[in-house]
Amino acid sequence: MTVFAYGVAGWLLLIGAFGIAVSRDIVRSVVCLSVAQSGTYVLLIAVGYQKRAAAPVFGATNPPSLDVVDPVVQALTLTDVVVSATVTALLLALAIQVAKTHGTTDPDELSALKG
């Protein structure tokens, strides 16, 4: 049971990559890339998890203690999410350009370079 979270992370990565390989639309490929990247969020959060530990944010009701989940991997996940979002925006902009110049968004029909 303890490897379940790691299993989910690996599954998201592989199913996302599978989606990219079989996709018939580049917009769908971009969504699949986001799914694959979600695997890394699950993996990072799972690595930092500790049973019955609080969030690494302290306040009046929870004074500083070491009994919290790992904040370092949470910060890495935040970086990951931001990069994922910006890359998605860039890829969707590319998809719009491809649709304009080639008149299709099916990767199988994109065989030649065209300006």
Binding site: G10, L13, V47, P56, L66, D70, A89, L90
Partner: protein
């Protein structure tokens, strides 16, 4: 490459990745154990600088240089997307008209949620060192808040509250501000992006030294970036497609 060949090639590669991944996972420490050496170091460093939100302390204090790199990635992709989404060839930018019809309930919700969402975004940015949130999260909320006007169907009003030149400048300003705060550390002789400001009282708004300043810089940059991106994408739908 034909489709079946591609799928077979993928399955072979995926099986390899899965095997390596399984080997790696079974070599990892068990899930949920209390042994987290980096956590111990990060929490101690955050508490020493009066930063209640340890994740913010990691991002804007201990790993601030990485966050500068991350911010540059945001800047780079916004510039890239904006360049890709310019009108090309025979396309011309048309004028934008308000939507013909909008559900009154949706429009009402857009107007009602606009101030609330702006407030939530500002709160997330300004309290990044105390509570969950920070510049990245708050910036996205702020950038999205302005686009609630899109839901009301008043596209011309949206153009007025979101002058693109201002937000393009904001994008650059945010990144510059981040680097400038870093140079304060150099001037103080402590190193680039070192947390040299007084760290204040634990849990107060003005605590954690440079962390709130860097949060604001990132908030400005991300909010501007989101606005520029959404404007460019909406232009494709509202102006350029409409002009053809």
């Amino acid at each position: 490459m034909t489709r079946p060949v591609r799928i077979v090639l993928f399955l072979v590669a995926a099986a390899g990745v899965a095997l390596c991944y399984l080997g790696a996972v079974f070599g990892l420490p068990e899930l949920g154990t209390p042994v987290h050496p980096y956590r111990d170091q990060a929490v101690a460093a955050a508490v020493a600088r009066s930063t209640a939100n340890v994740v913010s302390a990691v991002n804007y204090d201990q790993r601030a240089l990485d966050t500068l790199g991350e911010e540059t990635i945001v800047l780079g992709s916004v510039i890239g997307a904006a360049a890709l989404l310019r009108p090309t060839g025979k396309e011309r930018k048309g004028t934008v008209r308000d939507a013909d019809e909008t559900l009154p309930s949706v429009a009402l919700l857009g107007y009602l949620l606009l101030p609330v969402t702006l407030l939530v975004g500002a709160n997330l940015v300004l309290h990044g060192q105390l509570t969950p949130g920070g510049g990245f999260q708050g910036g996205v909320v702020l950038g999205t808040a302005i686009h609630l006007i899109y839901l009301t169907g008043r596209y011309q009003a949206l153009d007025r509250v979101r002058p693109l030149a201002v937000f393009t400048a904001g994008e650059a300003l945010g990144t510059t501000l981040f680097a400038a705060v870093g140079l304060v550390g150099v001037a103080a002789g402590a190193g680039f992006l070192a947390n040299v400001l007084p760290t204040g009282a634990w849990g107060s708004l003005l605590s954690a030294g440079t962390v709130p300043l860097l949060n604001i810089a990132v908030g400005v940059e991300v909010a501007s970036g989101v606005v520029v991106l959404l404007t460019k994408f909406l232009d494709q739908a509202l102006r350029i497609a409409g002009a053809e």
